[in-house]
Amino acid sequence: MSAVAAYVAAFAPIAGEPDWWLAQRRAALKTFERAGFPSAREEFWRLTDLKPILTQTFLPPHTVDGAKAARLVGEAAALVPGAWRFVLVDGGFAPALSDLEGLPDGITLVATHTRPRAVEPLTALLPDGIAALGVAFARDGLVLRVSAGLVLEKPIHLISVQTEAGCGTHLLSRIDLEGGAQANVIETYVGGEGAFLNGAAHINLGMGAHLTHGLFVRSEATAQIFLRVSARVEKGARYSAVPILLGAQQSRVDLAIDLAEDHAEADVQGLYLLNGTQRGQLLTEITHDGYATRTREGVKGVVDETAHGIFQGKIAVTERGQKTDAQMQSRVLLLSETARADTKPELEIYADDVKCSHGATVGDIDAAALFYLMARGLTRADARRLLLRAFLEEVADQIEAPCVQQAVRTLLATALGVSAQEVAA
């Protein structure tokens, strides 16, 4: 049986779901059956390793390993202290591991299965087979709505844990900030032994709203993590995305940001730190469709051993995008002869009065700096760590929201094997 046929055979109604939702899932399954998986001939899938997805069927999980879930959630929760915690275990909302105490009036934070209407923008538009598969097998996700003018004091931390090996988890989420609202939402992905995670989120930011959105991939070394975000940014609103690719065999984060109205802003500060045979891929497509919109995008990568880091960044400016101001920067360090990095910046501009720039460098650790540190007594390993940390910390420095910035510093400290206390020093 082909992978596609195996998915079709595994499709089943979910207890308690509304009929119209089951019908939508079924329709998405049909679309998936027709479209199949993306092919490596498509530009945005060319550098993705599709083999694991094509050759294996990641069926829905059956049993949850409660002890593993609790442990992984505990570890992940420490990243963002004092947050409201929204936990998904093997794709389903886990109230017992969540902490939503004291949410103020004017904020809705619920599981997608209780409000599937909220994710209709994701079911209406199925750009490819993987998106269709995600809708067909969607169980849960997060639905967040913050009413106008409300500034959330505490961050929201979505923790997605996969406990069952080799399974597929599909998430659909929706975030809405009404005019002037502000929130920090961090998503952390953990677990996922030999498993597949396929997450999609739609975001709408009303006039003057500001969302900082962390996407932290820390999954196990055998996981396949595919995340897709589409964000619509209205007048004077700002979307700050912080994709951090650390774990997983393969992680793929795809951000489509529509600066739909005047003075809308996108801010992307991303990084990947890869080793072994890992592959990390960050794709961004930012469309400047309003007057005087602005993008600041910086991506840093460190690739060791035979890992492969990829950044494909597209900036599109429509005829309405006069006075666009967009800057895109990428810097990568290759730590071994066999490490590989692909950086593909792309500008597509249909307005004449714009300021767009991009720059990309690929290099090695600075040998003079390394010698200087070693000549003062630091071991080669310590000296390298210090230099890598300094290089990557620049990403954290650019993040405005203190809780997200701190979380990134903690992540880096853990990933590079230095204590958080040292980082603070």
Binding site: D366, F371, A375, R376, G377, L378, L386, L387, A390, E394
Partner: protein, 253 residues
């Protein structure tokens, strides 16, 4: 302390390997200060780098014995923890690495190597404050990234500051006096003199006799064409200052 025997060193240039040091020998005993002078490009920094263990040099012959051990096979960090210190001719700027944090890491690496416990942040700060004062260095240089945005003189003083904290046994100073104003030269010299002891030795690479009027050397050597062509006492420096290196050509002729 340091014994260099018939050292031959090549670097890989654009047109194949190039010999820089050609049979250099030098003996430095504990407590001594040796000055090395010589024209630009004669190989002084190469010698300093080879002693400190920088990559990119090929030793084709000879040995560098430090405290009775040939160190040529050791990595730079091992030599540093064993007490070799190089004050760089061009100290490297390292963005994102805090000067103070780096120095504490370096000191603790050395302490661990010597079986001593780590210094905590408080004790370290105390030590550092005292040294800063002696070298007349601004406090804020500690909180900045290593050498980033430091003036030329501040960079050199920062090298001596590192040296004072790490308390090495063999100090190799590569033109630490170049580019210093009169007060800075005095501060650097005082820093060196404060460290002078019967157990510690110095190799001072310099172009100027001025430094040597602050720090009395036990011997002065002239490096030219990759080896030491003349050695003498402190008066040799004064003679070179007066007459330059013209004698080298005469000797060659």
């Amino acid at each position: 302390m340091l014994q260099i025997n018939d050292l031959w060193v090549e670097v890989e240039g654009d047109e194949g390997p190039r010999e820089i040091l050609r049979g250099l020998s030098l003996i430095v005993k504990p407590g001594e200060v040796h000055a090395i002078m010589g024209p630009n490009g004669s190989g002084k920094s190469t010698l300093a780098n080879v002693i400190a263990g920088r990559d990119g040099y090929t030793v084709t012959k000879g040995s560098v014995i430090y405290k009775g051990q040939d160190v040529l096979a050791q990595d730079a960090d091992v030599r540093a923890r064993n007490g070799i210190f190089l004050a760089f001719q061009y100290p490297v700027e390292i963005p994102g690495v805090n000067n103070m944090y780096f120095l504490r890491t370096a000191l603790n690496a050395k302490r661990r190597h010597n079986g001593l416990p780590d210094l905590d942040a408080g004790a370290f700060l105390k030590l550092v404050r005292a040294q800063l004062k002696k070298l007349d260095l601004k406090d804020d240089l500690l909180q900045r990234p290593v050498n980033v945005g430091f003036s030329g003189g501040e960079k050199k003083r920062n090298e001596i500051f590192h040296m004072s904290i790490l308390e090495p046994d063999l100090c190799v100073l590569d033109e630490t006096d170049s580019g210093l104003d009169i007060d800075a030269l005095k501060a650097v010299s005082d820093g060196v003199n404060a460290l002078r002891s019967p157990e510690r030795a110095f190799v001072l690479i310099t172009h100027y006799q001025r430094l040597l009027s602050h720090i009395q050397p036990d011997a002065v050597h002239v490096l030219s064409g990759g080896k030491i062509v003349r050695s003498g006492d402190a008066s040799l420096a004064a003679e070179l200052e007066r007459d330059g290196y013209a004698f080298l050509e005469k000797d060659a002729a």
